[in-house]
């Protein structure tokens, strides 16, 4: 069934119900998506000393994953945090790898 111009016509009530379905589905998806990062973070908290947590890539990523799945799916709200996480990880990674790589290069020569 379609209106002139090819636009589909919704039967009465369908829009309301599908919107409710959408909300329920989104909530369910959000809850399911929250489980893995929550589990990962819980596990990191158990095995990693608190003072080391900020230096641990998996912890940073699991916190970030929590943020990503907990926020609305619009990119705009995620962008600054995503970039901050990338910079933080780069700092953590670079702080250990750059001296190691340079030192090794010097030794290899």
């Amino acid at each position: 069934m379609s209106a002139p111009g090819g636009r589909p016509v919704k039967p009465p009530g369908v829009g309301y119900n599908s919107r409710m379905d959408d909300i329920a589905r989104r909530r369910l998806r959000l809850l399911t998506a929250l489980v893995p990062p929550l589990l990962l973070l819980g596990w990191r908290l158990l095995v990693c000393p608190l003072d080391l947590l900020w230096r641990d890539g998996a912890s940073i990523l699991s916190l970030y994953a929590l943020f990503v799945v907990a926020t609305v799916p619009e990119n705009r709200s995620r962008q600054p945090v995503t970039i901050a996480v990338m910079l933080l990880l780069m700092g953590v990674y670079g702080a250990t790898q750059v001296p190691l790589a340079l030192d090794f290069l010097r030794q290899a020569w």
Binding site: A33, L40, R44, V47, C48, D56, G57, A58, L61, Y64, A65, V68, V69, P73, N75, R78, Q79, T82, I83, V85, M86, L87, L89, M90, V92, Y93, G94, T96, Q97, V98, L100, A101, L102, F104, L105, Q107, A108, W109
Partner: protein
């Protein structure tokens, strides 16, 4: 010079022939066709090498002549006119410059590096030494049990050695597979929804993945396995004919049986995409031929083990693969404990490479590099919700990784088996970088860090790079084996250390190694006389050598080398 000409002719012939075959199985998706072209080239080289080894024609002259004849026939048939026109890809000039710089550095690494990793010297390369020295399969593949593993990768390494009768270009085999990994990453990125420029950046990030890159010039086959895994993923997501999937799977299983561990994830990916339409190839008959070729080339090693040892996956036993002390080094079946331990180690210190120098074997680290870990993982998480294809690939890759983690021990090097996985975060990083300038800067900085981490593998001994660069190429080795006889003098291997075994052959394959089985000194003397050998490589604990020393006709020279005293 003749060797160089033969190498050029044979390589040109295989490339032209691969293109001719590709015309009959092409998908008309250019990125996928490049992957198929490279797979066809590897299959042709592998099949030719196997045939030449089987018929005793594995020599520079025979293969060079065959290559020249095949090239002439292909040129006469006009194959060169059907080659695709080469043109510079439409990417940022800086990316092209970086890619050229990377290619130049790879060639320099191939030229300067020499095999150094203990596993490579102990059991990967001795068979290459045997093949090149004798020009055929001798039945001997080295004293280490692990030399019985499938040797699809070693076929390509032997191909790059046979023409010059030297191992100076042996790392080219790994470089070819690195090119395959880049082509597969490009094709995957295009499938996800990246444009040509972003996909090229993704391919560059994948090429710079430290574990993958360092494997390419270290004569290890895990990088090749990762490239073949990514290629199979490309073929699955593009819904090619199942025959072409069999072709890729056969080839991959012939390179490394651990490919079987990633199959559950690949099968799941195929199942998730089952409703998408398939691409029809131009010739079903050629697909069948190609599939059979892939299965034959890959299956050869399993058939050989079945015939020789009565077990296609020898030295795997119901307990697993064991070392000299009986400890299991690779379990025979997957286990939840392994999965848990390996995942914990991966997500712990390994992922961030904390405390691990960049190494080809990814020792105590992951080898994923800054681009995949720092930029890629966050980018992947951020984009998972907006891109179904990224989600599907993530699910498949996680299942494949779980398959590997459940099947291998938590040793310091287990993450070398999942070097295909960082390709996904690298693609995600390139996708995000395409839309955001700030992410582009971060990804570029990470790529720079990866470039630094892919200069030299940490397996190189202290000062080795300078030593290698100063040595003339004809005699270049990573480290000299103390007491090694002069080139040309054959050596008898009696018993004892298998470490560094490949070094016995010499970089120019100038030394024949005889595998002597002798229980007594008399048996030893008889075999040495028969083979006209005066130098032994053995442990002092060997009964025959000990008796010979006591009898006074053998004396120790240096290290594990002994020499036969001249008859009075």
């Amino acid at each position: 010079m003749i060797g160089l000409l033969g190498m050029a002719a044979a390589n040109a012939a295989t490339l032209l022939a691969a293109n001719e075959l590709l015309r009959r199985i092409r998908t008309d998706v250019p990125a996928v066709d490049v992957v198929l072209f490279l797979l066809l080239r590897f299959t042709l080289v592998s099949a030719l090498t196997l045939l030449a080894l089987g018929t005793g024609m594995f020599t520079s002259a025979a293969l060079g002549l065959l290559g020249a004849a095949a090239l002439a026939a292909l040129l006469a048939a006009g194959a060169h006119r059907r080659l695709p026109r080469l043109r510079l890809p439409d990417v940022h000039p800086l990316l092209l410059v970086t890619a050229a710089l990377l290619a130049l550095r790879l060639l320099l690494q191939v030229w300067i590096f020499a095999p150094v990793i203990p596993d490579v010297l102990a059991y990967h390369l001795p068979k290459v030494g045997e093949w090149v020295v004798h020009g055929r399969m001798t039945g001997q593949i080295g004293p280490d049990l692990r030399a019985n593993f499938p040797a699809g990768f070693e076929l390509l390494e032997a191909w790059w050695c046979v023409f010059l009768h030297h191992d100076v270009l042996i790392e080219m085999a790994g470089v070819e597979f690195l090119a395959l990994a880049a082509a597969a990453a490009y094709a995957l990125a295009r499938w996800v929804d990246l444009d040509a420029k972003a996909a090229a950046f993704a391919a560059l990030l994948v090429t710079l993945t430290p574990g993958l890159h360092l494997q390419a010039t270290a004569c290890l086959n895990d990088g090749a396995m990762a490239a073949l895994t990514l290629s199979t993923v490309v073929l699955i997501v593009h819904r090619v004919h199942p025959g072409l999937l069999l072709f890729a799977v056969g080839l991959a299983l012939g390179v490394k049986p651990t490919f079987a561990y990633v199959v559950p994830g690949l099968a799941l990916l195929g199942w998730m995409l089952r409703k998408e339409p398939r691409l029809a190839p131009p010739s079903l008959r050629m697909v069948a031929v190609v599939a059979a070729a892939g299965l034959l080339v890959g299956g050869f090693w399993y058939a050989r083990n079945l015939v020789v040892h009565g077990n296609p996956i020898y030295p795997m036993t119901p307990r697993g693969i064991t070392d000299a002390n009986g400890a299991v080094t690779l379990p025979s079946h997957p286990g939840i404990d392994h999965l848990r331990q390996n995942f914990e180690k991966f997500a712990g210190r390994r992922l961030m490479d904390q405390g691990a120098e960049p190494s080809a074997l990814t020792a105590f680290g992951s080898g994923w590099g800054a681009a995949a870990v720092c930029c890629g993982l966050a980018a992947l998480l951020a984009q998972l919700r907006e891109n179904r294809r990224l989600r599907l690939l993530s699910i498949a890759f996680v299942v494949s990784m779980a398959g590997v983690f459940a099947s291998v021990l938590s040793d310091p090097w287990f993450l070398r088996f999942v070097l295909f996985a960082p390709a996904l975060p690298a693609i995600a990083a390139a996708r995000m970088a395409a839309g955001r300038r700030s992410v582009r800067w971060i990804a570029s900085a990470c790529a720079g860090l990866c470039f630094l981490c892919t200069m030299v593998p940490s397996e190189m001994p202290v000062g080795a790079l300078g030593d290698l660069a100063r040595q003339p190429w004809r005699t270049r080795v990573s480290f000299p084996l103390a007491g090694l006889p002069d080139p040309g003098r054959p050596v008898a291997f009696v018993d004892g250390s298998r470490a560094n075994f490949y070094l016995l052959y010499g970089p120019g394959f100038s030394r024949r190694v005889a595998f002597v089985r002798a229980g007594t000194a008399d048996e030893l003397r008889g075999q040495l006389r028969q083979e006209s050998i005066r130098d032994l490589y053995s442990s002092r604990n060997s009964t025959a050598v000990r008796e010979a020393m006591e009898a006074g006709w053998v004396r120790r020279s240096v290290g594990l080398f002994f020499e036969v005293r001249p008859d009075p």
